[in-house]
Each structure stands twice: as C-alpha cells, then as structure tokens.
C-alpha cells in the first residue's frame, strides 16, 4: 500500500524515469523503487506509442500490410519487411529467384550494420560521451545513402514484397557498397580507440547488469543480448532462411553476460555482417528480381509462421489465414518486448547510475515493444 505519495510502506522512494526521458530512446516509462541508491524494483509501463499495428494489418491485403511493419522496429525496417514477405511466400508456395535472395540478404546485413552503429553511438551518449554519436552517424549516413538510392527511402523502405524485391538494384549499388566497405575498414579502429578501450567506459560496463545464461533463456531474451550470456540463438545459423546456410560467417558468442559482453557481441557482429557483404557483393547472380505472382494474393486456409534474426533478436511473424485476401489474425513476436522483460532482473540490487548503462546494452526500440 502506498501511504505517502512517492513512497512505499517500507519508506522506499518511487521515482519515474520517462516517458519523456532522453536516455530511454523513446516513450518508455520506468517506475523505479529505490532504497537509497540501490534499485529494489524496476517496472516498465508500456503503451505510450501503441498503434495497434497487428489489428490494422487485419484489414489490409497481403501486399499492403508489409509497409506498416517498417514502423515497428524502424532501425531494422528491411528485416521486418523481409520476415513478413517470407511468411506470405511460405503460404503462397512461391519460389524466389536467386537474385532476389541475394539482394535481400545484402540489404538485411547493411541494415544490421546501420542499426548497430546507431546503437553504438546512442550507447556511448547514454554514458555521457557525445562525440561517438557523430562518428557513428558518419558511417550510418553512407548506408542510408545506399538505401535511398536503391529503395527510395532512408528508413521506412518497403522494399521487400511477396515474391522478391520491389525494384532492381540501382546501377551504382555495387560501387557504393564497396566504397562503404572501404570507409568502414578505415574508420572501425576509431570505435575501439574512442570507446572500447576507454577506462571510464570499461569501469562502468564490466560486471554491471549481469544476465546469466539460465535467466536469458527463461526470460526469452534473444539476439545480441542473449549471445552476450553465451546462449546460442542466431536464427541465421539455427534455422537458416534464404541463402544464409551457404554463407561463411560466425555466430558471435561471449560468456560473461555483463553489459560489456553485450557491447562486444554487437561490435563483432558488425564485422561478421561485413564478411557476409564481402562474399556476396561481387557474386550477385543475374536474373529476375521478382517472382511472378498474382495481382491479388490469397493465402490458403491455415497458419504460417516464419522467424528471422533482426538486429535486436528473433522476430516471429504468425499469420492465420481463412483463405481470403486479408489475414484473419497477425501476431508479431518482437525481440524488444522479451529483451525488456529482463531489465528488472539485471538491474535489481544494482545502483541507479548503472540502470541506463544496462538498459542501453539491451538496445531497446520502443515502437517495437508497443507496436
């Protein structure tokens, strides 16, 4: 029972972080119970940016609903669209041309690098270092320019359609990606010089926000956050889709489980994505970029599920079809929601100063949590 406003019965202080707080990267509202400086409980309050995308999708056709999923996890918009396109294709039983598959994987990996770069800049900014933010945006801008040239938009691309991709690659695409790879290799050492090796940064990250392997599994944490605890959960390796089973890349694993381990996983994952892009960029097969599909798509009666690995973890798309042109029910299993659920576990007993550092390494995107 609350006896006094802002205090619990035991005399602990209750404070609100958010919904308008710069460090929560969106409208996340955390109600924190504090005993002095020690966190006793963190309770996320959700729903400030709920747009009922799942319900909206029920009135849209299978071609139309894909655009709205770019607005869920806007930093991996391509991968969200990819997941939806794959699910619809599974229902239709369409074979995707080899060129479209390669284009899709290339775009996914570019998106992953862009997302991790933004996270790196924002993470350092949460800890008080402002310069890395601009360094991260320098590389990210060149990826955004590539997207703008080929897909026609910088963030909400809507490039993946059932059957392939919307338009063919821009003639400049290969040169632009190659010059980006060159730029990235010249600049990546700055990331370590500026942040990773920094003693203040290391002291704030090491041994903070520890998520054990068992806890990661029981909370359903996926993606880099779980791989920092040693849980092997990369969907690209475990349940390969598209051409991922033919590619040579490693699943990045760390075992410490603290904030620093999660940080290292993401930095090394960017290098793995670069490796994938290097394998594919000179080997884009000729052919169609889109399979021939009917103008009006109708999925057979049944249930379809497909999962992909976004920059934040496992995204699952579940479609129930009644045989019509619109889905009967759509459910998204978003990675952000499950990753947020372990926030209370990893910060409880710690200091309030470490809360933002731990939350930053979970890489939360709030529209992805609320949908």
């Amino acid at each position: 029972m609350v006896e006094e406003i802002g205090k619990t019965a035991e005399g602990d202080l209750i404070i609100n972080v958010g919904p308008q707080h710069p460090a929560t990267h969106g409208v996340l509202h955390l109600v924190i119970t504090l005993n002095g400086e020690t966190i006793k409980k963190v309770e996320p309050h959700l729903g400030y940016i709920h747009r009922s995308i799942e319900k909206m999708c029920e009135s849209l056709t299978y071609r139309q609903f894909i655009y709205s999923t770019s607005r869920m996890d806007y930093l991996s918009a391509h991968i969200n669209n990819h997941a939806c396109a794959l699910t619809v294709e599974k229902g239709l039983g369409v074979e995707i041309p080899a060129r479209a598959q390669v284009i899709r994987v290339l775009m996914d990996e570019l998106t992953r690098i862009a997302s991790h770069e933004l996270w790196w800049g924002a993470m350092a900014m949460d800890l008080g270092a402002f310069t890395p933010f601009f360094h991260a945006f320098r590389e990210r801008e060149s990826i955004n320019d590539i997207m703008e040239e080929t897909c026609g938009a910088r963030l909400t691309m809507n490039y993946m359609v059932p059957g392939g991709v919307m338009v063919d690659l821009h003639p400049n695409f290969q040169n632009r990606v190659k010059s980006f790879l060159k730029l990235y290799k010249q600049k990546i050492h700055e990331y370590d010089e500026l942040v990773t090796g920094n003693i203040i940064f290391q002291n704030r990250m090491k041994g903070v926000g520890i998520l054990s392997k068992e806890a990661a599994i029981s909370y359903g944490v996926t993606g880099p956050a779980a791989r920092g605890s040693g849980v092997s959960c990369d969907i690209r390796k475990l349940y390969p889709y598209e051409i991922y089973n033919t590619l040579d890349f490693e699943e990045v694993l760390e075992t410490a489980g603290d904030s620093y381990a999660r940080y290292l996983v993401r930095l090394r994952e960017m290098n793995e994505s670069i490796k994938i892009i290097e394998q594919l960029i000179d080997n884009i097969p000729e052919g169609d970029f889109q399979a021939k599909t009917k103008a009006v798509l109708k999925l057979p009666k049944g249930e379809f599920y497909q999962r992909v690995e976004t920059a934040r973890g496992e995204l699952g798309v579940y479609i129930v079809s009644e045989g019509g042109t619109t889905p009967y029910r759509i459910k998204f299993r978003s990675p952000g929601f499950s990753n947020l659920s372990c926030l209370d576990h990893i910060t409880r007993g710690g200091k309030i100063g470490d809360l933002i550092a731990s939350m930053g390494t979970l890489d939360l995107v709030i529209p992805d949590i609320d949908r």
Partner: protein, 158 residues
Amino acid sequence: MFLVDYFKDVYGAMKSLLVGMNRTGYYFTHHKEIITEEYPDNRDTLVLPERFRGEVVMTHDENNEHACTGCSACELACPNGSIKIINKFDISPEGKKKKAIDTFVYHLELCTMCGLCVEACPTAAINMANTFEHSVFNRGLLTKRLNKPDSKLKAGVE
C-alpha cells in the same frame, strides 16, 4: 606487488584516455574530413536520388495529356486511402459512352510514401517525385488534384 599493479592500472587508464583524446584532436585539426551538409543553405546544390519517394505526381506531356485511364488500381493498392479517383463518362463523336478520369484526388497528409500505387499502375501514369518539403500553413492545401485542368488521356493508352 599490489603497488606495481596499482601503477600499471593508472598507466593503462591514462594511456586509454590519451588515445581517445588523440582521435578527437585529429578531427579538430583535419577540417577536410568533416562531412556535414548545411541544409537549408545548400538547397540549390542538393541532389536527391531519382528513386527517392517524396510525393505522388502524375506525368503530363507537352500537349497536356496523361496516361491515366481511371482504372482505380492505385486506389485499391493504397493501404491508407490517400487516393480517390472520380470518373466521368465522355461521349465520343460516334455517340458511344467512354469512361474517363474526372479528378484524381491525392491526400498527401495520409500518404506514407510506400510506392505501392506506382507499382500497381498498369499504364505508368503516376510516379514518385523527389520533392520533400511539404510543410504548409493550411491543411487543406495537402489535398491535391493530380490531373491538370483540361488534360486529356493520351491517344493509344487503354
């Protein structure tokens, strides 16, 4: 031994800070590597890629003719209802009724620039322009009529 470790830690900490400061100092003295663009001062030289999706426009040729037959494929493809097509019936010289477009209403305020209408158009009558400065003071100005006054259907487009 404790003292040796302590001084090693201090040395490592100082070194890591200096390495970071060195990187900051590098950019402080290398102005040519700064890549920021000063919008809106660079408006005259700003070039957007031709595929950039800014708003839907209808292409008209020099005879004020367009290729829109009024088939409503774009209206059906639009997920937000930002396109509304109003048709009329023209009487041809032979006395036959022929469907033609009267008004192509485009609600820019509802549009999410997904490009599905352009994909759906069978006669390539509409496309995406790369204008992006859409702010106006009156919301009514965002509802546009895309076919120009007195424009006609191009001959040979069915």
